[in-house]
Amino acid sequence: MKRLILLGLLSIFAAATIVVAQSTTQATLRTQTGDKPVAIARQGGQTYFSAEDVAAALGGSVAADAHGFRVTINNNVAAFGPDSRFGVVRDDLIEMPAPPVVIDNRPFVTMQFFQGFLAKTADLDVVWDERARLLSIRPLQHTIVGVQVSVTNVQGTSKIVFTLSQNAGYAIVKEQSAYTIRFAAQIRPPFAEQAYEDQNVAKISFAGTDARIQLTGADVVGDAYKLENPYRVVLDVRKTSPGPAAPSVPLAPKSVEPSGIHTIVIDPGHGGKDIGATGPGGLLEKDATLAVANKLAAALAVKLGARVILTREDDSVVSLDQRTAVANQYKADLFLSVHMNASTGKGAHGSEVYFLSADASDDLAKKAADAENQSTSGHADTQSDLKLILWDLAQQEYLAESSRFAQSIQEEMNALAGIQNRGIKQAPFKVLVGATMPAALVEVAFISNPDEEAKIRNEQFQNTVVDALTRAVQRYKNDYEARIGIAQPAAAPGPAATPAQPPATQTTGTARTGT
């Protein structure tokens, strides 16, 4: 008898545990079409919402299979699984504080799932009011964006950085001696007006959604670009009068008409705490790439008369995004990232040339279309499709040109004595993603191979590599300009008799020319 009573109590306890852990209650779901009930559950300090109830309220549905669930709303599909706190929509991640749970065969997710899903696909926000037990789905409120401003001057160029608390669109208006940055959001300025003792910037003032930069004269020109993480709008301004070494870059979009290869961005891989690979003799990839890139920049400026920009000129950290941002900012015609290779196999040797793989480029096109979707409403689909098509066409053109550029590099590197050419390859390399010009990455040699590490250290070898890369750029330039009908093919320059001398001054992000 006692045993039976004990069994009964245990059963009650077991049943109660299940009920407590997996019980659901009702709350209210408010959408633009009205209020509906939504089942919610609490576990581990999280509040979970019935995915079916939320999807149904928005005219969508949830389907299950062996690995998880698919939520479809307005033909947009997001997936989540029972063990993962990451969901996926259009290959973008939706991050949740805890994995979804299943209660009575029904999937429940935290509100972050729908926040991510609806923000990416429908410009909707999801807000949970615990006190009122009310889940609201409403158009995204465009909140006030905080703005911080800094002005620094490096060798005559004033860098004005507007750091924003979140992503916001902007437009720039150029006046005779001022720039106005018009933000597409309400902003919280750090001050109404502030004067600067700077050779280019007289004062900065805010009014409404505008930031006005008063320049010291009409001869001050600038380049604007944006950086992310954190989101920043940067305006580099400088005087044009000292000479032609720093020609102005117009803020207008890149000309549709092709005009040849004039501006080249050279990217020395790694830098700062990102040392890259280390050779068995202790040579650091970041030092070797900088040495070669510096020589290459000087050679291209001298021999091609090109405007050459280095993404870094010293042992500094530059993010991968910033490297292509610099190239885009200067509307470069060519981008070359310089690296030294490494492999677990000590015998691995030779040079390799990479350009971006097509699937990575496709992903970029999708992201661009998604971004377009987020920033528009109403006829978003049409604009998104158009953006996708235009972006895709542009990327296909860049990829085709990148392939030709890589071919030129491969052929010239092939002629290097003692360095085996391992061919042209395509790969999803982050530093090539987002470059709006032909772009390639060259692996000069294997720093992990003791013999090749010794070669990389050798200045004469570096000069030989620089000669080969210079000839490759010249060949590609001649070929490209002949194809677009603005120049006749010319012979590639011969090997340099002496190492190219670095220019007298060089500043990251500013131009150098050999003319």
Partner: protein, 180 residues
């Protein structure tokens, strides 16, 4: 009285079991426990700088979501054949793996080297990333693409080159023809 107690206890048991409705995840757990020796193909770099499959037999559960982390952990141990090379840093750990209905497998990696910044070259990073992608997609037909995380968070790259901000599909050009 005894009969009445018995009836009450049985009624409570019935009520308790009624609360435990069968769920999809319960089915998965059942599959996860159906462990059997299964052959898997693990990919490592060979002397031609390409990925070659090495056959291993592993005790694996039937459920792919449960089996994926076990297969990747086995790959991290390195090859049995001395002519093949282990690609990931030796301290790499597999924190977990998940499979979503759209065919995306998440593999969450960790370990001091990946966390602090892996200083290696393009080739080694490329081969490491795609050895994992190739291993998972080859052994699990449900997996179409692989998304890598580091310490449970999205990562830009493992060593400064290969973009991890997207799901990766296998690259046949990196694999020996006989192992494709």
């Amino acid at each position: 009285m005894r009969r009445a107690s018995l009836v009450v206890a049985l009624a409570l048991l019935a009520a308790a079991s009624a609360c435990r409705k069968p769920q999809p995840q319960a089915k998965n757990i059942s599959e996860a426990n159906n462990v059997a020796m299964r052959p898997v193909r693990l990919y490592f770099e060979d002397g031609n700088s390409l990925l070659t499959a090495e056959l291993h037999n592993l005790p694996l559960p039937e459920n792919p979501a449960a089996a994926i982390p076990l297969v990747v952990r086995e790959m991290m141990k390195g090859p049995g054949n001395a002519s093949l090379a282990r690609l990931f840093p030796p301290d790499t750990i597999v924190r977990g793996a998940y499979l979503l209905p759209d065919g995306t497998a998440f593999v969450d990696l960790g370990g001091a080297t990946l966390q602090q910044g892996w200083g290696t070259g393009t080739h080694e990073e490329l081969m490491a990333v795609f050895s994992l992608v190739q291993t998972v997609t080859t052994n699990f037909a449900e997996v179409k693409k692989v998304r890598l995380l580091v310490n449970g968070e999205p990562a830009e790259t493992l060593a400064g080159h290969v973009w991890l901000g997207r799901s990766l599909r296998p690259m046949a050009s990196l694999v020996e023809p006989a192992s494709r």
